[in-house]
Amino acid sequence: MGADMGSDRKEEKMPERRKFLTSILRGLGAATVGGLAWTGFMDGKKAYPLVLRPPGAIPEEDFLAKCTKCGICAEACPYDALIISAPGDERPPGTPYFIAREKPCRMCRDIPCAVACPTGALDRSLVSERGEKGGMKLNIDLSKMGLAVIDRETCIAYWGIQCDACYRACPLIDKAVTVEYIRNERTGKHALLAPAIHSDHCTGCGICEHVCVTKKASVFVLPRAVAMGESSARYIKGWEKEDEQRIVDLPEETQTITPRSEKDPLDYLNKEEF
């Protein structure tokens, strides 16, 4: 092909090519605008931390990715406790949750919801343990749907009125809920029979919240990520041998950097206001 011919062709082709590029750019522009609006909408829906998931639910972030919103878990629930969120529920649309005060999880031994999940958003291995024969066996007591939290100021047992509704109703009585005898300072001669929740056993089923006698429940289930703190690695219960294991793997030297610690401690003591 000659050089002149080539340049002629180029001139002819330019408008076509330009048209094509413009249309691609225009498409990309529209896609970006649409995508941004779309993301904004989704972020608003995702930011609902107080949702209680069925037993066996994998961590919330993965759960939202894996759940296909089919509702088979809700259909499998014999107590109709699971709700499939509809737009306007302020929860991620189409995902299953329960409202403990209204219909708590009844902790079925065969965990039909988790077993029915076709996608692995509810992972039955999280609610299974190794049985005597070596195979995996379902155990609903292993589920971690949330953690019950007591408001001691409105709980009437902490006032000194006898109530053990939550304690009696708890499927893991004496493990997840215990009653502590506390001296009643007001009368000086009675005990408060005060309920206490233990996070290592509480499954977050919400039956305590369901049965609580106060107007608005004084014991209520929150997602564990919301309800629990996290201890620092270097605070050790020195009186517990097992707890000391936590520092074994940590490096000996450690440094915590805060705006204050950037300067020499002596400088800070001598020159800075504190």
Partner: protein, 279 residues
């Protein structure tokens, strides 16, 4: 009898769409095992899982995997529509289609609304939306289209409770009624786009017979995806575009029997076709 015959495919499609939804409702309300779940993921007869392949692909785009049940379920769907039925999901299963067909029918009754579009929009928008869905799934970590899909809102709403989902459904209806003819299903919906892509090579096809055609053009007028019928009146050929949803409206509307369903490769008239093209 003539009326029924004239609308035999419409009646079949509505029967198919409505009975699938009724079976899902019965699965939730009565505990029937025929169809449990919804169109996103379902369990058939208590045994086989089916899954929306586009949803599964979005989940993969988030960097997650799905269980083997869901993966197999998605493959069954891809095989059924990809090998056999083409884009038939849209006109034989999807409940939104009932709504948008209604909007399309009403649109014709609006005086002065004869034009193809009020708003100019490319039919390729749906493929862009597929792309955006996957990119957003990657960045947000959730299956992006599943969060805003009016299809999900409608079928899940019918089965499990609608909530505010009706607003999205109404928006789709009004979009089709007032803004773009066949706007949602024919331009925007990425699920339709997805089935267009996988339905391109399916066996079930509409065949146009040039010999019988009297050029009344009613097939093109009625077709919700007009661009798939370039051969009408020109040559005998199969509708080859994956964007044809096998809704069979062109077959019903044709009084000359110039349109019919055939199986690609199995058509006895294959030889004729070649001759038709040559002549």
């Amino acid at each position: 009898m003539g009326m029924i015959r004239k609308h035999r495919y419409l009646i079949s499609r509505r029967t198919s769409q409505i009975s699938i939804m009724l079976l899902f409702i019965a699965g939730n309300v009565l505990g029937w095992k025929v169809l449990a779940g919804n169109l996103s993921t379902s369990k058939v007869l208590g045994a086989v899982h089916l899954a929306d392949p586009f949803a599964v692909i979005q989940i993969f785009a988030t960097g997650n995997s799905v269980s083997s049940e869901a993966l197999v379920g998605a493959l069954i769907i891809i095989l059924f529509f990809g090998v056999f039925a083409g884009r038939a999901f849209c006109s034989w299963v999807c409940p939104v289609n009932i709504l948008t067909d209604m909007a399309g029918w009403l649109r014709k009754k609006i005086p002065g609304e004869s034009g193809e579009r009020t708003l100019l929009m490319s039919r390729n928008v749906r493929y862009w939306v597929i792309g955006i869905s996957l990119v957003l799934s990657l960045f947000t970590g959730v299956a992006a289209f599943e969060w805003i899909s009016p299809i999900s809102m409608l079928h899940r709403g019918i089965i499990f409770g609608m909530g505010m989902g009706w607003t999205a459904v109404l928006a789709v209806f009004l979009f089709d009624l007032l803004m773009v003819r066949n706007g949602f299903c024919g331009h925007v919906c990425p699920l339709g786009g997805f089935y267009s892509l996988i339905g391109r090579f399916s066996l079930l096809r509409v065949r146009h017979d040039r010999e019988k055609c009297t050029l009344c053009m009613r097939c093109i007028e009625t077709c919700p995806e007009r661009q798939v019928l370039p051969m009408v009146g020109k040559q005998t050929a199969l509708v080859s575009s994956g964007e044809c949803s096998n809704c069979a409206r062109c077959i019903e509307v044709c009084d000359d029997k110039a349109m019919e369903f055939v199986g690609k490769f199995f058509s006895a008239k294959k030889q004729d076709e070649k001759e038709g093209i040559l002549s």
